[in-house]
């Protein structure tokens, strides 16, 4: 474990060189010392504690790096350190959560899965379908279960204020599970991959649901429920535009060129990560603008606490 925290320290030491020179001269040594102490502390609590610690640092690092570079009053308000930091943090959190969500389905392809047994049961019960159908359903089912759980874990780590999990978990689960339900329906009802009118309708509904989920989630994070209408509008519209563009540009390329399962999964994960980052940016900007336009004394969204 000591080796691991040592390696992590070396990587962090390298990353510190990305800070502006003046900042590095003043703080580099101290940052590395503190990082090593904190990594050692975390590693004593076990590998998961070390992993969570590294993830937290990984998320915060680019945000604070950008803050340092953007710290100039001449920039437009939305790019000033506070606002930019909050927006980036939301963007990275959503990006990571969505990317992990797409990896959740891999469990269906693990060799040890009792697929033949399930297949025999499938036929015993008189259902039609191929081995591939079962695999596909398992893939979707595991996405439904593991996806929301992974997303919840990552979001809870990044936003400690969300720890009253009972209050926020339904929103997170809905955000990630509802689109998967629609996808299952789509793959069950429509067997071909060509883009039909129905397929497009399902896709649109799926985007709208993700947007809805994002809106609810962002509102809960911001603890300002009256802003939901704004976010519900921004969520579906933004997600539709982003997803449509990425689908056209990236997923078509992947379908044409990727030959292996892993290529496809990685490609989808990348697409989801980009989608999450774009959504996070959009929601962050909407929240930040709303906060700035609130009249004095209005209980604004306290993004600083994120």
């Amino acid at each position: 474990m000591k080796d691991i925290s040592g390696s992590v320290g070396r990587i962090y030491n390298f990353l510190l060189r990305l800070y502006p020179r003046s900042f590095r001269i003043e703080f580099e040594d101290q940052m590395l010392l503190d990082f090593l102490d904190m990594a050692t502390d975390a590693s004593k609590r076990g590998k998961w504690a070390l992993l969570f610690f590294c993830l937290r640092e990984l998320i915060d690092f680019p945000v604070n790096l950008l803050k340092m570079y953007l710290e100039t009053e001449s920039m437009i308000p939305i790019f000033r350190p506070h606002a930019a930091g909050n927006i980036l943090r939301i963007a990275l959190a959503f990006g990571l959560a969505l990317a992990l969500n797409s990896f959740a389905g891999i469990v269906a392809f693990i060799d040890q899965m009792p697929l033949p047994t399930i297949w025999r049961l499938w036929h015993f019960l008189g259902w039609r379908g191929t081995y591939h159908d079962i695999q596909s359903i398992l893939l979707r089912a595991s996405e439904l279960v593991l996806g929301p759980v992974l997303a919840a874990v990552i979001l809870l780590m990044i936003f400690p204020e969300m720890r009253p999990i009972k209050r926020y978990l339904p929103a997170i689960v809905l955000t990630f599970a509802l689109p998967s339900v629609l996808d299952i329906l789509r793959s069950t009802l429509l067997k071909n991959l060509a883009l039909t009118f129905d397929d497009t309708i399902f896709a649109l509904a799926s985007y709208a649901l993700v947007g809805l989920g994002f809106g609810i989630l962002a509102s809960l994070i911001a603890r300002e429920r009256r802003k939901i209408p704004w976010l519900l509008f921004a969520g579906p519209l933004g997600l539709f535009l982003v997803s449509w563009t990425l689908n056209v540009l990236l997923l078509r390329f992947q379908i044409e060129h990727s030959a292996t399962f892993w290529n496809a999964v990685t490609s989808v994960a990348m697409r989801n990560a980009l989608m999450g980052v774009a959504m996070g940016l959009l929601l962050g900007i909407v929240l930040e603008f709303k906060r700035r336009n609130d009249p004095p004394g209005f209980p604004s969204v306290q993004l600083d606490s994120l």
Partner: protein, 111 residues
């Protein structure tokens, strides 16, 4: 002395509160903030030092000295300034006012 009317971020508030009791180096601040906030606020190293830099630039804290910690490298120790103390006092007063307003309406511990 002009005090910012903007509410402090949680990180800034807890860092100032931590330094109010005694001067500390970075790692001690992280630990103290964790304890003060009941482990709710965990500062990352990058957040801690970007915040410390801003507080230094604003004159709310100052670099006190460097002290050695055993065989390791020297640690920089920070202490709160009078200006920082006033900002913290103003923030506590603001928070107190908010809570008092809720109490006045008989609202306690909304779940």
């Amino acid at each position: 002395m002009k005090i910012s009317s903007q509410p402090l971020s949680e990180q800034t508030y807890f860092i100032l509160l931590s330094l109010q009791s005694a001067p500390k180096h970075g790692y001690a601040i992280v630990k103290d903030v964790q304890s003060l906030s009941n482990v709710r606020v965990t500062l990352s190293v990058s957040t801690l030092y970007t915040t410390l830099k801003r507080l230094l630039d604003d004159g709310w804290i100052r670099l006190l000295d460097e002290v050695s910690q055993g065989p390791g490298k020297p640690r920089k120790v920070y202490e709160i300034t009078r200006k920082g103390g006033s900002v913290l006092a103003a923030e506590i007063q603001r928070l107190d006012m908010l809570v008092s307003a809720a109490r006045l309406r008989g609202v306690e511990g909304l779940s």
